[in-house]
């Protein structure tokens, strides 16, 4: 078993990371931090999950959100999707394994992946509404959020949700407030089977390697770690028994990356757009400086007077 994180002490503790540790800040530049924090990660071992939703409950509890009591729709998912009050969601799928002819019940804990290259942050237009710490945590800062929903368009995993109450975006924080004082995420703490463990990214990779090896020895030849390189790796990783087919786990993307549409929107459109407008304004100014105004002359007025008086001078 993975050594659990110690319980918190009761004495006051300085935060382990702060605004000085930002490596990215939406719609702004940040100076490179003086020190690089150790990267952290949460590892979700799908093969160990029993679908009890203790993590979901712990997440609600810790973050003090108030999801509405839903309706039973014939599925185990509850609520049916992530919401501004539900940062993590157990998704259940039944998969007919064509090789063994057996039904497999696949349960995946959905939520923010804390991408190393976060599409949400790239898309966000509001300075400082999304930040990324050098330990890998991607966090939303609500007082800076304008509620535009661009993060939803930027995210390759369909994670952020906008609250209808305060019109700001919500998602899993990786319990940044707990991690800051040496604790692990609430969901990891609550998990009864250690399907969720938390530590440094290297530790988690090492732990995952052992789990993959174990799964392979049990006949899951395609077992593997999900740490998708298309988004630079993630700080929430999965151990999957069928790592060759992540889609069967309720649509986990096989090769997630920031959509080319988002790259075009946030890249060339902005630079080309501002250039075009700048040039248009500049050309106008230049034209005026060179050609001067186009003024109506006395002669023009006289012509008009003649025309309207109907005098037939035959002049043009």
């Amino acid at each position: 078993m993975f050594p659990p994180l110690p319980n918190p002490s009761t004495t006051d503790m300085a935060s382990r990371f702060s605004g000085k540790d930002l490596i990215r800040r939406s719609a702004s530049n940040v100076p490179a931090p003086e020190k690089q924090l150790t990267e952290v990660a949460k590892l979700i071992d799908v093969s160990k999950c029993i679908g009890c939703k203790a993590c979901q409950t712990a997440c609600i509890e810790w973050n003090d959100t108030h999801p509405q009591v839903g309706d039973f729709t014939g599925a185990f998912e509850n609520p049916p999707d992530l919401t501004p009050d539900m940062f993590t969601l157990m998704r259940y799928s039944e998969w007919d394994n064509p090789e063994t002819n057996e039904l497999e019940w696949l349960i995946r804990k959905d939520g923010c992946m804390h991408c190393a290259d976060p599409g949400c942050l790239k898309a966000c237009p509001a300075p400082g509404a999304i930040v990324q710490y050098s330990n890998g945590i991607v966090d939303f800062v609500h007082e800076n959020c304008i509620g535009c929903g661009y993060c939803i368009k930027g995210c390759p995993f369909n994670i952020p949700r906008i609250s209808k109450v305060d019109h700001t975006a919500y998602k899993c924080t990786l319990c940044s407030d707990r991690v800051a004082v040496g604790q692990g995420p609430a969901c990891a703490k609550a998990c009864p089977t250690q399907a969720i463990v938390f530590g440094t990214k290297d530790e988690m990779k090492g732990w995952a390697a052992k789990r993959v090896e174990d799964l392979k020895s049990r006949g899951f030849v395609n077992a593997g770690l999900y740490d998708p390189p298309g988004v630079g790796g993630t700080h929430v990783m999965y151990v999957l028994h069928h790592a060759d087919k992540p889609e069967i786990y309720s649509g986990l993307p096989k090769d997630p990356k920031i959509s080319p549409l988002v790259e075009a929107w946030k890249g060339v459109t902005k630079y080309a757009g501002l250039t075009v407008l700048g040039v248009a304004a500049g050309v106008g100014l230049l034209h005026h400086l060179i050609m001067g105004p186009n003024r109506v002359t006395e002669a023009d007025e006289e012509h008009a007077e003649e025309l309207t008086e109907g005098a037939s001078h035959g002049r043009r």
Binding site: A272, G284, E309, G310
Partner: protein, 234 residues
């Protein structure tokens, strides 16, 4: 052919200088509502467009309100422009002389307007501005509605939203570009602004820039014989 760019309100008041009525009060109010919405949309949109312009959101009392109000101004713009469209579309239909005018655009730019054909109420440049605005506003309202997450987020997939916002930002750049052309022409060609403020221009202005329109008005009002014109009276 009876000129379809003539409006019943357009009258010639002989005198020194001659005064020509160009726009009714209704058309002017309609225009200025449209103009104000377009400028407010450009400012609020640009705040979200690029971080270096985010400060513009302060004009609207912060990012949250900018995000909230932008689409609503868009709705105002759409209906307001629809009004302008219904008023002006006929006079903006493409005519034979427009191609020639455009072909000699260099002469227009170098203040040699004598070398270009006489044009009616609108010249080819104005018509291009009119039609591109019309098309772009339709693109902006439709892509804007698709990106309006506060009310319509559930009707589109995320990929559709991505296309919508990309199209919206490209169309926005285009329409601001068209607006720059429109705005610049209005100040470069002196005597134009009063057309939209007081509704009237001088006869000299009309003679210089829209001679065919002036001749048609003269013919219609029967005040002149039209003998100085290049086309027969009546």
């Amino acid at each position: 052919m009876a000129a379809d760019d003539l409006q019943p309100n357009e009258r010639i008041h002989p005198g020194k200088p001659v005064i020509v009525d160009r726009y009714t009060v209704g058309a002017r109010i309609n225009h200025w509502i449209t103009a104000a919405s377009l400028v407010l949309l450009a400012l609020s949109g640009l705040a979200m467009f690029h971080p270096s312009l985010f400060f513009l959101s302060r004009l609207f009392g912060g990012g949250q309100f900018t995000r909230f109000i932008h689409p609503w101004i868009g709705v105002v713009l759409f209906f307001s422009f629809l009004g302008l469209f219904l008023r002006f579309w006929k006079a903006n239909l493409w005519r034979r002389e427009d191609g020639t005018w455009l072909g000699r655009f260099r002469d227009v730019l170098t203040n040699h307007e004598d070398n270009v054909p006489e044009v009616g109420k609108y010249n080819a440049g104005q018509k291009l501005v009119f039609w591109s605005m019309s098309v772009l506003i339709v693109i902006l309202i439709s892509s804007g509605l698709l990106a309006w997450d506060q009310y319509f987020s559930q009707y589109t997939t995320i990929d559709q939203k991505r296309v919508a916002i990309l199209v919206h930002s490209l169309a926005a750049v285009a329409i601001i570009g068209v607006w720059i052309v429109h705005f610049y022409s209005a100040i470069w060609v002196r005597g134009t602004i009063p057309a939209m403020t007081r509704g009237r221009v001088t006869g000299g202005w009309a003679w210089r820039h829209h001679r065919k329109w002036l001749r048609e008005l003269v013919t219609k009002s029967g005040k002149g014989t039209g003998s100085s014109g290049s086309k027969p009276a009546e």
